[in-house]
C-alpha cells in the first residue's frame, strides 16, 4: 500500500463530547501524501481541517482510524521520536511563542528535550536559515514583528530536523508582503531539506501557489480531492469547491446571490 507515501490517513474520525453535545468533527477522512509533496487542506471555519492536523500531530489523542507516518502506524499517544519527525507551525505567531522566553530559550528547549549536541551552533544555523541574523537570538517575542515571530516559529519547528512540517494557516495573521516572505521561506526550506508539508488554509490562492494536491473539506468530510492542475484549470467537480473558487476571485454581486448553503452530507 505505501509506495513512498510519507503520510497515510485512512478513515480518520474525530468526535467531541457525548450525548446532545456530540460533534462529529472529522468524518471518514482518508488521504495520502507522497514524500516531498505539499498537501493542502482547504475549508471554511468549522470544516474540521485544523482538527485533522491536530490529530496527526498528536495534540488531540481522541481519534479513530489508521494513521501511518513514515511507514509506521501511529497510536493516539506518540513517543518522543515522533516529535523529532513531525513538527507543527501554528497560525498565530503572537500566541504560539512564550512571551517571557527569549528566542534563544525558545529554540534551546526542543534541543535539550531531544538531547541534541552543539546547541549553540544549531541555533545560529537555524536562525540564519529562516533569514534572521544572530542579532535576534536574545530578543523577546514582543521585540519582533509578526513576520519575524513566524520565522522564529518555523525555526523552532526546523531545529529538530523533522521530515514533516504541519502548517496550520501559517500566514493568515500576516500582511501580504510578509506572507510572501514566509511562503518563499517555506518553499526554499522544502527544497533544501526535502520536507513534506501539510498546509491547512482557507485561502485558495495560497494553496494553489504552494501545494501539489489538495482536499476540500466541509462539515468534517472531504468533499473533493483534486490536483492543483485541476484547480488551476478552474475545473473542480464538486459544487462546494466551485463556490469557494468563485468566492476567492473577489466581489461579484450577481455571483453572491447564487451562493448555496452546503449542509452536512453535501
Amino acid at each position: 500500500m505505501s509506495d513512498g507515501a510519507m503520510i497515510e490517513v485512512e478513515n480518520l474520525n474525530v468526535v467531541f463530547s457525548k450525548g446532545a453535545d456530540r460533534v462529529h468533527a472529522v468524518r471518514d477522512v482518508s488521504f495520502r501524501v507522497p514524500e516531498g509533496a505539499t498537501f493542502g487542506l482547504v475549508g471554511e471555519s468549522g470544516s474540521g481541517k485544523s482538527t485533522v492536523l491536530r490529530a496527526l500531530s498528536g495534540l488531540n489523542p481522541d481519534w479513530t482510524g489508521q494513521v501511518t507516518i513514515a511507514g509506521r502506524p501511529q497510536k493516539p499517544k506518540r513517543d518522543k521520536a515522533f516529535y523529532k519527525l513531525v513538527q507543527m507551525v501554528f497560525q498565530d505567531p503572537y500566541g504560539s511563542l512564550h512571551p517571557r522566553h527569549t528566542v534563544d530559550r525558545i529554540l534551546m528547549e526542543p534541543l535539550s528535550i531531544h538531547g541534541f549536541d552543539n546547541p549553540d551552533r544549531r541555533i545560529e544555523q537555524v536562525l540564519g536559515e529562516v533569514g534572521l541574523g544572530p542579532a535576534f537570538r536574545f530578543r523577546f517575542p514582543h521585540q519582533l514583528s509578526g513576520g519575524q515571530r513566524q520565522r522564529v516559529a518555523v525555526a523552532r519547528a526546523l531545529i529538530l530536523e523533522p521530515r514533516i512540517l504541519l502548517l496550520d494557516e501559517p500566514t493568515s495573521a500576516l500582511d501580504v508582503s510578509v506572507q510572501a516572505e514566509v511562503l518563499n521561506l517555506l518553499q526554499r526550506l522544502k527544497k533544501e531539506r526535502g520536507l513534506t508539508y501539510i498546509l491547512v488554509s482557507h485561502d485558495l490562492s495560497v494553496v494553489g501557489h504552494m501545494c501539489d494536491e489538495l482536499a476540500v473539506m466541509n462539515h468534517g468530510a472531504v468533499v473533493e480531492e483534486l490536483s492543483v492542475e485541476r484547480l488551476k484549470r478552474h475545473a473542480p467537480q464538486h459544487p462546494y469547491t466551485r463556490q469557494l473558487m468563485v468566492a476567492s476571485l473577489g466581489y461579484d454581486r450577481e455571483a453572491i446571490d447564487k451562493f448555496e448553503d452546503f449542509g452536512i452530507g453535501g
Binding site: I256, D257, F259
Partner: protein, 290 residues
C-alpha cells in the same frame, strides 16, 4: 457621484507622544467622500484604522488629532462639542468594528442591543423599536430574526455576529458608515454575503461607505475608489477598477506579492520598501484617476 462631498478631510494628522518623542500614526491625509464606496487599504500600522477613528473623534488621549479641515456635511467635526458629537455618532456616522466578539455586550440579548441603538436616537416606544430591530435583522438576511433577537452574543456564529453589528449600526439610518475590517474574521463566502448587504444599502439609501481593509483584491472588486496608505500617508488614490494598472511602486509591490491560484509555486516577488515613501505622500487630495 453627488457634487457636494459628504466628508472633507484635509491634512489629517494623528500623533502619539512617547518617551522617544512624537510618533506620527497619520501624517497629512487628505481626501473627500461622496455617496460612494471608498476603500482604504494598507498594511498593519499604515494608519488606516486611525484615519477612520479620527473622523468620529474616537482617538483617545494622549493621541493628538489635528487637521486643516475635517468637515462632515457642513459640520466642522473638530469644533463640535461632545454633545454634538454624540448626536453625530451612530445617527449620522456609524462605525462597524472588526470583531463582533469584543463589540457586543456579552450579557445583553442581541435584539435588545439593536433596539437600544435605535431608541438612543429616536423617541419611540419599546415595541416600535423591537419591530424595527426585527426588520433590520431580516434586512441583513438573518433567517430567523425572532430567535436571533433573543440570543446572546456567545450563541451566534462569527458571521451572524458581524451581521448583527451591521444591523445595529444601520438602524439609525446613518449617512456615512465607516467599516473597519468588517469581514476579515469571516469565511470568504460569508464575507461576500455581508458585503453584498452593505452594497445594497449604499445603493438603496444613498449612504457613503468607508471600507477599511488589508485585502487589495477584495477592495478592488468591491469599492468605487481606493486609497492606498503606507506609513500614515496616502500613496495613491485611484478608481478601484483601475487598481490593477496602479502606478505607485508600493501599490505595484503589494499587488505583485499576492500568491495566486495560477501561480507556479516559484518565489514570490518580495516588496522592497523605498524610504522615500515615508517622506512623500500624495499631497492635499489632488487625486488621480478621476
Amino acid at each position: 457621484m453627488s457634487d457636494t462631498p459628504l466628508l472633507n478631510v484635509e491634512d489629517l494628522k494623528v500623533q502619539f507622544p512617547t518617551r522617544k518623542g512624537l510618533v506620527e500614526a497619520v501624517r497629512g491625509v487628505s481626501f473627500s467622500l461622496g455617496r460612494e464606496k471608498l476603500g482604504i487599504v494598507g498594511e498593519s500600522g499604515s494608519g488606516k484604522s486611525m484615519t477612520g477613528r479620527s473622523i468620529l473623534r474616537l482617538v483617545s488621549r494622549p493621541g493628538i488629532v489635528t487637521a486643516r479641515r475635517l468637515e462632515f456635511d457642513g459640520i466642522d467635526l473638530q469644533r463640535a462639542s461632545e454633545a454634538q458629537m454624540r448626536r453625530i455618532r451612530g445617527q449620522r456616522i456609524s462605525m462597524v468594528m472588526q470583531d463582533p466578539k469584543f463589540s457586543l455586550n456579552p450579557v445583553m440579548r442581541v435584539g435588545d442591543q439593536i433596539a437600544e441603538a435605535y431608541r438612543t436616537h429616536q423617541k419611540v416606544p419599546p415595541a416600535e423599536a423591537k419591530r424595527r430591530a426585527l426588520d433590520m435583522l431580516s434586512a441583513v438576511r438573518i433567517r430567523d430574526p425572532e430567535r436571533v433577537y433573543r440570543a446572546y452574543p456567545h450563541e451566534v456564529s462569527g458571521g451572524m455576529g458581524q451581521r448583527i453589528m451591521i444591523a445595529m449600526m444601520l438602524i439609525p439610518d446613518p449617512d456615512l458608515l465607516i467599516a473597519d475590517e468588517p469581514t476579515s474574521a469571516l469565511d470568504v463566502t460569508v464575507q461576500l454575503q455581508v458585503l453584498a448587504i452593505l452594497d445594497d444599502l449604499v445603493t438603496q439609501r444613498g449612504m457613503g461607505l468607508i471600507f477599511i481593509s488589508h485585502d487589495l483584491n477584495l477592495v478592488a472588486s468591491f469599492c468605487d475608489r481606493v486609497i492606498i496608505m503606507y506609513a500614515g500617508r496616502i500613496m495613491e488614490i485611484c478608481d478601484a477598477k483601475n487598481l490593477a494598472a496602479a502606478q505607485h511602486p508600493y501599490t505595484r509591490g503589494l499587488l505583485n506579492c499576492l500568491p495566486s491560484i495560477d501561480g507556479d509555486g516559484g518565489a514570490l516577488p518580495v516588496l522592497k520598501r523605498d524610504p522615500a515613501w515615508l517622506e512623500h505622500g500624495l499631497e492635499h487630495g489632488l487625486e488621480g484617476g478621476r
